[in-house]
Symmetry: C2
Subunit: 270 residues, 2 copies
């Protein structure tokens, strides 16, 4: 059966490098027989802010409105606003989600954070029991594809912005892996706006080449949920002990006070 791909795209301009990267993904994946859908957030005027208007009708507790709880309830009762439900439908059928964006302030632009805050509803995208390796979307893949303003050297463990693996951890672990997604290595376009036209072209060519095998790629490594106890959610003593003599921590975040495993948020198999 044809694979379904959703591209969540956040750039204001159709003339941008991000637009070209998005168009390349649509073309190459469609040519492979995939069915590709694009959520063009700026063009859609996508609402970024999580408010009571996201819920149709009365909220449960207007005095002390808690978005996490109210949106969960609204999802259960089919009362989420139409724009959220539409995005959730696209996500439900997708096998792979590609987030295409320019990095703003070491993270995603606010309009894309808004998609994350509003669409990945409590209950729909995660629950206390269903998260990380047991997450709701564990049969789906997801990846970040983004441009930076900084050069690659600046995002190294000796560079001024620090290791990109650290910057990616909250996004790739805290959002994508949290919902269970198998996280494919990020596609990072280093400072295309500082590059000459020829280099920009070759960045896109290399993305096109990667896209051809993207759906068969091995995902990044994270830690299985059953390595943690279910009260304090600490690494089980036996897992900790087993890893005691190893040189590196398990992941960027679960580093056990050891050096971070190199490239673990950038390359599969690290």
């Amino acid at each position: 059966m044809a694979k379904k791909v959703l591209i969540v795209y956040a750039h204001q301009s159709s003339g941008s490098f991000n637009a070209a990267a998005k168009n390349a993904a649509v073309e190459v994946l469609t040519a492979q027989g995939c069915i590709v859908d694009v959520s063009d957030l700026y063009a859609m005027g996508f609402k970024a802010t999580a408010t009571a208007e996201d819920i149709k009708g009365e909220v449960k507790n207007a005095e002390n409105f808690c978005y996490l709880e109210e949106s969960k309830l609204a999802w259960e009762q089919g009362k989420l606003s139409a724009d959220i439900m539409e995005e959730q439908s696209k996500l439900t059928v997708a096998d792979l989600i590609i987030f295409q964006f320019p990095m703003y302030w070491f993270s995603v632009p606010a309009i894309l954070k808004g998609w994350i805050d509003r669409v990945l509803t409590n209950g729909f995208a995660f629950s206390q029991e269903k998260r990380y390796s047991q997450g709701i979307f564990k049969d789906k893949k997801a990846m970040l594809s983004f441009t930076t303003g900084s050069l690659e050297s600046m995002f190294s463990p000796t560079g001024i912005n620090g290791d990109m693996n650290v910057t990616l951890w909250p996004l790739q672990n805290g959002i994508l892996h949290y919902c269970g997604f198998q996280v494919l290595a990020p596609q990072i376009f280093w400072a295309p706006s500082s590059a000459v036209a020829e280099d920009r072209k070759s960045m896109l060519e290399s993305w096109r080449t990667r896209l051809q095998g993207l759906l068969e790629e091995k995902p990044l490594s994270f830690i299985s949920l059953d390595c943690f106890d279910d009260k304090a959610f600490q690494l089980k003593p036996e897992v900790h002990e087993k890893h005691a003599s190893k040189e590196f921590g398990l992941t960027v975040g679960i580093h056990l006070n050891k050096p971070l495993p190199p490239h673990s948020q950038m390359k599969a198999g690290c």
Copy 2:
């Protein structure tokens, strides 16, 4: 002269724990003689998305709109939209900025990311020369004050969400320190929604106590800009060598492939 404090506050409800934390800050700091201003983002209906409407009149390049460049130009020409200019005025006079928010997806809510994306304009808040320890706001202090859904144990180097120091790095280094702010230790309210009323009360009491000495606190440690060369922005060989025999990396991001310095994004003097 009276110190000026700006609280950038992002919660939907005046009955929330975040509202109580914000109110405590207003009260205690005002009682100390500070002049406190609050940007209540949801109440203001603050626009979160970075679009061409943020610029009055014609943009320079509509075909290939680049927010970073266009907003810089608009700032230089006094053509930024009124809501952005208003926030920039508040920031300009402030000695301390407190960001008060519930953590959403290992980061700030989209509405607050929108404030960051739109208000910290290229030119106004940073430039290629003026950033990090030479940053434009180096005479100001800033801090994060936030609630989590997760317990503290879950955000440790052996916990399921990984070390909170890692999660804070992109926010505290990539946004606050990038603009030059002296970054005060974060105020983290661990899972108040899971706590009993008495514990929530004591969390607020401890915040009130901290607020009394807040303006005299020593900031977190980062690395001086002159430790990096000015081409690839890599740590200078002499700094690297000087640190070679040390047990820990310099910071969370500039970790030199050593273990991360413990608590360095959580406590001053680490």
